[in-house]
Amino acid sequence: MPGHSETHDTRPPAIDGDLTAVTERLRRITVQVHGSSGGTGSGVIWISNGLIVTNAHVARDTAAVVLPGGRAIEARGLAWDPEYDLAALALDAEGLSAADVGDSDRLRVGDLVVAVGSPFGLVGAVTAGVIHAIGPRRTAGSSFIRADLRLAPGNSGGPLADARGRVIGINAMIVGGLALAVPSNVVARFLAPLRYGAATVS
């Protein structure tokens, strides 16, 4: 129509933009981990000076870690926990982007969650879902988070984050189609005795 300019809004809907932003944020804190005993999966940069959290079944002593930029670096195991399938690795690096850690005790059933990992070698793949169930609680925060979210083996050790992009769990296994993740508060308790950058491990 002459004299009439139609305005096309080319911006993505707000929700798409948010999801993209959360994904980008998570990709910057997610590493690939190749354990010396053959395990492979993902890991989370927990502290900027090189503390990586992953699953014990991925790596628990030495491991080759591929940082988000593609740089490969050797990591050494600091501690591991068989009950929660957790391992802490240290690598010589400074100023890495580190996870913004959320409070897993405040999760509600139905909350939106996002996972990033390297399923089948596809680096930085994102999946979205919701919290499936909380508990049954033995002691506060001690049970795995269950999420209605699609995971693949390469997601092991990678982050599960809330709608703000805060890491609230470490993806650990797939049971009956559900994603099971170690709550961030359990990770914090596991890391506390290490006194690794004690100011930020709380």
Partner: protein, 299 residues
């Protein structure tokens, strides 16, 4: 992150809003199913999960176990109605399924609560289940119905119940029974103990119509339905239908399979009239029949 955060908050609030009306139903070995507090003291669940008629219990959201009795069941729509006494559970908020659109985000809620999310994958019209029940609207979901989710509510992002989920009506598809069907069937089960289905009292068998007959009946299908049994004193017998008549149309619509007859008659109320076009000794005739009620099958 406002939009994503607000969706997350809405989904969690929807679960919070419905969870008080969601119970576990113990009516089969090992795997409890889910039920919804539909009317005061009335729990609706999926019929295929109610294996036993007695010793049924429900587990309230607060963990209390309460005895329940089976009011009635309708395998056709895969719905069963239970009664519980002295319940202070809140009632489910029933939504208007008419407001639901393909692509809307929905949650399936199991007892616990446990949830899965997804979208409304397809909506269709009225359909008949393989067990013969009449469902007002086809609601196909793209989400996972985890073990024990059957009988639980499908809720919209506001936490309003828009259907009852079941894996008992299709092996391939995740389906929900819309609120209108659940309410209609539950009310009928409570009032009468069964769901009435219209019935003519004839046994029919498909038979190919000779070309000469078909030319005389415009719009008839190639197949007619040969009357091979007439129930004494049934609606067809009262209308004068005879063995050997061939049914070709009901209310002007051609019938080429027995399912066509069930679709027309099953949905009719007892007492309504249906006009049958028949071939008798090669000549077309119209017979008016009063639809009867299918006698309930006692188990």
């Amino acid at each position: 992150m406002d939009a994503l955060l607000s969706l997350s908050n809405d989904l969690a609030a929807a679960v919070e809003r419905v969870r008080g009306a969601v119970v576990a139903v113990n009516a089969r070995p090992r795997l409890p199913s889910t039920g919804v507090h539909w009317r005061p003291g009335i729990i609706v669940t999926a019929d295929h999960t109610v294996r036993s008629d007695e010793d049924i219990t429900i587990i309230a959201p607060d963990g209390r176990t309460v005895a329940a009795s089976l009011v009635a069941r309708d395998p056709g729509t895969d719905l069963a109605v239970l009664r519980v006494h002295d319940t202070d559970l809140p009632l489910a908020d029933l939504g208007d399924p008419g407001s639901l659109k393909v692509g809307h985000i929905v949650l399936a809620v199991g007892h616990g609560p446990r949830v899965s999310w997804g979208v409304v994958s397809a909506l269709g019209g009225r359909w008949r289940t393989w067990r013969g029940g009449e469902i007002d609207q086809l609601m196909r979901l793209d989400l996972t119905l985890y073990p024990g989710f059957s009988g639980g509510p499908l809720v919209d992002v506001k936490g309003r119940v828009v259907g009852i989920n079941t894996s008992g009506l299709s092996r391939q598809l995740e389906l929900a029974i819309p609120v209108s069907t659940v309410t209609r069937v539950a009310d009928e089960l409570i009032d009468k103990g069964h769901v009435s289905r219209g019935f003519l009292g004839v046994g029919l068998q498909p038979a190919r119509l000779p070309e000469a007959f078909r030319r005389r009946l415009t719009g008839a299908s190639e197949i007619g339905l040969l009357v091979v049994n007439v129930q004494p004193d049934g609606p067809a017998a009262k209308a004068g239908v005879l063995l050997g008549d061939v049914l070709v149309a009901l209310d002007g619509a051609p019938v080429g399979a027995t399912e066509d007859v069930q679709a027309v008659v099953g949905a009719r109320r007892a007492g309504s009239t249906v006009t049958a076009t028949i071939l008798r000794a090669g000549a077309p005739a119209e017979v008016s029949m009063t639809v009867g009620e299918r006698p309930s099958r006692r188990r």
